[in-house]
């Protein structure tokens, strides 16, 4: 049986409330003697306060929930690390859940975490549970969205400038004289992917280049290889490709390896995501890098403010990506 406050009180020969005072450092109204007696009793019994009981009373668990699409994404990991670091300063802990982009799983997790009375939620939203999101907003429950926007919802959201960053990247390809540029994304069910495609198309249009349907793949990962096969079987296969995230990049690398397509030589390649080793492999890979750690920190700040009922901006917080130009986009003339 665990030691409770009552045990400490008995041992120290005082009442529970005095022990409680002590624990909450309200020493002012307490004799030195009492203080020492309590301190010793706690030490002797090895007493640890029970946070569950405290939480029940205070209606605060000092825990927040993170609902991420998949922790295996490098970006998600970096964000989670930042969140953990930040909340640790406030003795708060993070519960991490993988929704796998599945609205049902997301709903289940949201309900479970709220039932567990976590103080707030940081969500990489699937975007499909509108009524549930709305219900949280109505209840003034602290929520911050990360990475993805959800239309018409008034929720503090931390994102990057997907469209502009992709546009900028494609313009880089154009400057490098690539003329046949393709893009591969997962299904366009979330804002991030959609915006990246938009940026791609805008860049082409602004440069009076044709926007070809057959150069734009949007398909689940498990069908990506198939679609790439089609793409590179075209009469005029692309000479450059934008991989819209790290998983797509992986598929492209696999495909290129199997079909002996030399990255950087036969195919210019840009990845939208933080790839570890991108600058160390050969050839080095041009990336669009997101400030994941800063974004996590920002989301943590926002959530903590919401929890403390402080004022918060409900406009999207938009971070800029950085284009790291490396060897994989040296230009189509580089057939060594």
């Amino acid at each position: 049986m665990a030691i409770t406050m009552a045990d400490v009180a008995k041992r120290a020969g005082v009442s529970k409330s005095t022990v409680s005072q002590f624990l909450n450092k309200r020493y002012e109204y307490m004799s030195e003697e009492t203080r020492y007696k309590i301190r010793d009793a706690i030490k002797e019994l090895g007493y640890q306060p029970n946070y569950v009981a405290r939480s029940l009373k205070q209606k605060r668990t000092s825990m927040i929930g993170i609902i991420v699409a998949n922790i295996m994404h490098r970006f998600s990991t970096e964000v989670c690390r930042a969140l953990e670091d930040y909340f640790n300063n406030y003795d708060m802990n993070a519960i991490i859940c993988n929704a796998d982009n599945d609205p049902e799983k997301e709903r289940k997790y949201i309900e479970m975490l709220r039932a567990k009375q976590v103080d707030g939620l940081i969500i990489f939203p699937t975007g499909q549970n509108i009524e549930l999101y709305q219900e949280m907003i109505n209840a003034a429950y602290p929520v911050v969205f990360m990475d993805r926007k959800v239309k018409d919802l008034i929720v503090p959201t931390v994102v990057v400038n997907n469209k502009e960053a992709t546009k900028h990247a494609v313009e880089h390809l154009i400057k490098k004289q690539y003329t046949k540029i393709a893009i591969a994304t997962e299904e366009l069910t979330i804002s991030t992917r959609y915006e990246r495609k938009q940026g791609y198309m805008e860049a082409l249009k602004n440069n009076n280049m044709p926007v070809l349907e057959e150069y734009m793949i949007s398909t689940p990962i498990h069908l990506m290889a198939e679609e790439l096969e089609k793409l590179f079987s075209l009469e005029e296969p692309p000479t450059a490709l934008v991989a819209a995230n790290d998983l797509v990049f992986l598929e492209v690398l696999k495909f290129a390896k199997e079909n002996d397509i030399k990255i950087g030589k036969q195919l210019g390649l840009i990845v939208f995501d933080n790839i570890p080793f991108a600058n160390l492999v050969s050839p080095t890979v041009t990336t669009i890098s997101q400030p994941a750690y800063d974004m996590g920190k920002k989301a943590a700040e926002l959530l903590l403010k919401l929890i403390n009922k402080e004022e918060v901006t409900y406009k999207n917080t938009v971070y800029s990506c950085e284009l790291y130009v490396r060897e994989s986009t040296k230009g189509p003339g580089n057939f060594l």
Copy 2:
């Protein structure tokens, strides 16, 4: 104010206890009418049970804690993902904490998570908080160690055969005619690193090759570049290297890049860890791969059994690593 059971009871015109029965699906002793009344009242009020109160009563939070060295390690991420998947089947959640190999941080997290009454802990132990570990064992608190052994402690532990795997890898290098083989690890403060070095040394000894102090680096990551500098400034620099984890590998890649050392041509390279893209970069990298997902699942099973007070083996569960031979260890003759 949140809806409580009392509200539902009042609305349905029954008592709290009956509502509780309903929620715990003990319908047997309940009229259909009562059941429907309660069901409707719950729906109308949008009632959600409060798990904190339930936990206080049941002494079970349905939450477990994970204390990991650093979630940014690929291995840790994979383990966490497996844990999350497993516990999700039991409606349990995971709190993830980064101890950064800092014993103080580890201690703080262990105490906090226990105060929060998590049902059990999976720890990648620093190995430095012996008394604290021992105290948990004495209290029969459910704990499973992951990745690292701690001497003389009776705790279910899930590890890999570090020594044998490294030995096997070095033997592979020897077979490939490498004669000057070095190893780089972080500081030898945890069993994993120590064992990998042991395996390296055994392989050399068994093959009657000299074990040279200057070929064995053990240093914090931030000093690794410096030590690599020294290593490759030797009169007889190594022609092959074992990077004892992914972070070391990163440092080696950086160093090689800066000093224009061609991996696979001038330097044979093996990494102990799961590197994404290892088989897709050029040259592909020989790795010693750990079955991280399976290990996580196993640890989850063990912990759940401990929580449910079922029998459990207290011997280490040892998984075997797999050596994936790739281009980075083609042999020292490969100077194209």
